[in-house]
Amino acid sequence: MVSKTEEAEVNRLESQADNGGGGEWEYLSLVRKLKLRRPDKVLKHGLTILNDPKKRSSLGHDEWTLYEQVAIAAMDCHCLDVAQDCIKVLQKKFPESKRVGRLEAMLLEAKGSWAEAEKAYLSLLEDNPLDQVILKRRVALTKAQGDISGAIQRLSEYLEVFMADHEAWRELAEIYVSLQMYKQAAFCYEELILSQPMIPLYHLAYADVLYTLGGLENLQTAKKYYASTIDLTGGKNNRALFGVCLCTFAVAQLTKGRYKEDKESPELQSLAAAALEKDYKLRAPSKLSLLGSTLRSLKLSS
């Protein structure tokens, strides 16, 4: 999970490394620790270190981790020659290694030879049928071929065994959202909120899915989850603030005339609108009139 301070630190190190101020290794370590996907920068700075024998040997054992990181980044950038070179070095150092075998299979994937990659993964699975990373790679392989329903099937099989893997739940949720299967996606997000209740982004995504599903009950629940996102972020998430406003408007549209005021928190939406106005005034004064007209159309300000 990337917190606000960590994000600022990454950006500082990135601009420092980009401008030749050193700190490449710190940047690469942080990218690895936070699991960010910035292949072009990793490739550039990683190769600067790897091509300099003095810098490379000063890393000690971390050298091999860096080779792996650069190899994956190179595949992501489609610089397959670089990836091939890195893997060759690792192969020489660690023959018989499963981790290098996985890299080779990933290289096959990057080349687009799906059948060979599948064969490589299967042979790796023979030794250890419950290797989580390889099982996940096979899901990704199916997805890469465009067979989304096959990927869903493999992923659900995987989740039956490894139910605590929240990254897999998140992947499944995102696949379902991409297929507009919101009910299933909502279930996945419920699992994610259960396993990591303190992460506001899951609350936000769950609320988004519920709002998209529509219906009075879902809208009311969505509003609650937007409110909990606001609670967890201290009101610094504009999407959640907008969500509260939209949910209020949608609920009011649905219940027009039927219910009298039965609101639990009548000030919530006006407070959210006020917080939005304050933030826009501070950070984007030119867009303030746009926000005003949006809020007026939602009947939240006059």
């Binding site: 606000k4 292949p39 610089c79 506001p200 009101g235």
Partner: protein, 105 residues
């Protein structure tokens, strides 16, 4: 950090001096054959001062406190890690080849 450490050492010295003074006071009481009812007032002051200094050093020296609030900058999650275990390579990056002039070795 260094200031905090010095204050801590000073606090411990004051505390040991208080202990020494109390022992002296008790031997004095034994000579005059009086009952020990409590330490003298200057020793009590010394004890309190030593306590405050040691407490301050113990809070300052070990390092910074971590924030407990959910919405502080250290704890507020602003983005999820990219799901690297499920990364796929046939994305539109293929259409924008990086200058592959970068070569290893």
């Amino acid at each position: 950090m260094a200031v905090g450490f010095a204050v801590g050492v000073l606090g411990v010295l004051i505390l040991s001096h208080a202990a020494y003074s109390t022992i002296q006071y008790r031997t004095l009481l034994k000579i005059t054959e009086e009952e020990f009812s409590g330490p003298p007032i200057n020793v009590v002051f010394e004890l309190l001062l030593g306590l405050v200094l040691c407490m301050w050093a113990a809070l300052a020296v070990p390092g910074k406190f971590q924030s407990i609030q959910l919405d502080s900058d250290e704890n507020r999650v602003v983005s999820l890690p990219s799901n690297l275990d499920f990364m796929i390579f046939n994305h539109r990056g293929k259409a924008f080849p990086l200058e592959c002039t970068l070569k290893s070795k």
